[in-house]
């Protein structure tokens, strides 16, 4: 059971997407796991054949519990206690007609795991990884003998998790944790998780709020014009443009893009905007659009649609859950004009987006009716001051006046 979030101790295996005997490749989804926050797809970290599924659907197990066993493709499954093949030099030459059996695999490959193959992880790095939801298997260590230190975890946290793991992971099976009481529904568990996270945020983070109203005339006009040339599927909604602009603004104001860890702000090198998504069963998730600022606006739009649909289908990937560096919550569709949001720890800021409303608006002394949106930045006062938040909103405003450049 992989750790799919900072506060995850255990998860429920909802559904297997593979069967024993299936060949899987690195990155293939293998199972759906319910983390109390949402259902998430768990992918394979290796190529191989599924030898055994170790956990029944519906079972709740502790983080670190092996879920399945993979063996390398083409390898004979060897008993773990069987000794490794003798070295070539000392191996007797095969007698005529005798079939040379391939060397046994070093042992079953257990996937996924929270540990690290023979590699060292500093205790602090381990703790940080747990808190930030970083999968240590995907962190390459910079220390002696590849030891993982805190900065490696932070670096991994900040980039997409596309590094290749060093080697197959083998870890002692962990005893199964007994299932949660059946009376506790997934929905209430999710609520509890959100409750805990938000309580912590309100308890620990001294929030400040700055807000502004932005004239969206230029954006809506530009969208109206450009969307005409786009198929329905490719049309861009204003929210996507706000996201892209917010990502660019975050890059320009890095003090708002990162994490508050151990009484200090750790900036994130990339902008992975979190998007608050209300799942229909009442859950709230805020998965990330990776490298938001580097994507073109149509790519942001596509990513947004993909993310929201998968969030609602319970098919988020763990990296998406773990990675946001700054979250945007857009409740305009719910009809409100202003959102004054609560920051997701350990992030240090949250952008609230309201409904696009037509308001009387004065431009150059002349009154007109313009589409406007209310943007509110919640900032962690430990990390930044209101001035930083204000400059961020000003930047955002300026960016939204030039949608063609987004």
């Amino acid at each position: 059971m992989p750790s799919l979030g900072a506060d995850m101790d255990a998860g429920t295996l909802v559904e297997w997407l593979v069967r024993a005997g299936d060949t899987v490749h690195r990155g293939d989804p293998m199972a759906v796991v319910d983390t109390d926050k949402s259902a998430i797809e768990v992918e394979s970290f290796d190529d191989g054949v599924v030898e055994a599924l170790l956990v029944e659907p519906g079972t709740r197990v502790a983080v670190g519990t092996p879920l399945a066993r993979l063996v390398a493709v083409g390898m004979t499954v060897a008993a773990p206690e069987q000794s490794a093949a003798p070295a070539a030099a000392s191996r007797p030459a095969p007698s005529p007609g005798q079939v040379v059996v391939p060397a046994p695999s070093p042992g079953p490959v257990v996937v996924p795991v929270g540990g690290r193959p023979g590699g060292r992880v500093s205790p602090y790095a381990r703790r940080l990884a747990r808190e930030l939801g970083v999968d240590l298997d995907r962190v390459s260590g910079s220390g002696a003998d590849g030891a993982v230190h805190a900065e490696d975890v932070l670096a991994a946290r900040a980039t997409t998790t596309e590094q290749v793991p060093d080697s197959p992971a083998v870890e002692e099976p962990v005893a199964l944790e007994s299932s949660a009481p059946p009376a506790r529904s997934a929905r209430s568990a999710r609520r509890e998780t959100i409750a805990a996270l938000m309580s912590r945020a309100k308890r620990e983070i001294p929030h400040y709020y700055v807000a502004t109203t932005v004239d969206l005339h230029a954006l809506t006009e530009w969208l109206r014009r450009t969307n005409r040339e786009r198929s329905v599927a490719e049309r861009i909604v204003p929210a996507a443009a706000v996201l892209k602009a917010a990502a660019l603004a975050a890059r320009r104001h890095p003090g708002l893009n990162g994490f508050w860890v151990d009484d200090a702000f750790v900036p994130a090198p990339e902008v992975h905007l979190g998007v608050a998504v209300h799942v229909r069963d009442g859950a709230l998730v805020a998965p990330a659009i990776h490298r938001t600022a580097d994507l073109s606006l149509p790519e942001v739009m596509a990513a947004l649609r993909d993310l929201v649909s998968r969030a609602r289908a319970g098919r988020l990937r763990r990296a998406e859950m773990a990675d946001p560096t700054l979250t945007v919550t857009d409740l305009g569709d719910q009809g409100v004009e202003e959102v004054i949001g609560v920051i997701y720890p350990p992030q240090v800021a949250l952008l609230g987006v309201g409904r696009v409303v037509e308001r009387p608006w004065a431009v150059d002394g002349l009154l007109g009716v313009r589409p406007t949106v209310r943007l509110t930045l919640s900032g962690d006062h430990r990390a930044t001051d209101g001035a930083t938040g204000a400059r961020f909103l000003t930047t955002l405003d300026e960016l939204l006046q030039h949608p063609e450049e987004l």
């Binding site: 969208l223 109206r224 969307n227 005409r228 329905v232 599927a233 049309r235 909604v237 204003p238 929210a239 229909r280 947004l304 649609r305 929201v308 649909s309 305009g332 569709d333 719910q334």
Partner: protein, 83 residues
């Protein structure tokens, strides 16, 4: 290609159910605001429009969105454009 009012109406209902699986359009009435009734956000609505367009081959522009507020409006537009 032309479609009947019944067919158009059917497309609308299926599109809504694709987005909100347990939605029952009949129960909210043909003149109810679909977005409000089924809590469709802008992305949902985009998907909804996309489904209407692909199922019927009708071109739908953003300027048409106001007409797509109710089931009746949707049906009207699809029948008109397909014809």
């Amino acid at each position: 290609m032309t479609i009947t009012r019944e067919q158009a109406r059917d497309v609308v209902e299926r599109a809504v159910r694709r987005i909100v699986p347990d939605a029952d359009v009949a129960s909210v009435g043909d003149d109810a605001d679909l977005r409000a009734a089924f809590e469709l956000d802008s992305l949902d609505f985009l998907s909804f429009v996309e489904l209407l367009a692909t199922e019927t081959g009708v071109r739908i522009d953003e300027d048409d969105y106001p007409e797509l507020t109710t089931a009746t409006g949707c049906t009207d537009l699809l029948v008109r454009r397909a014809g």
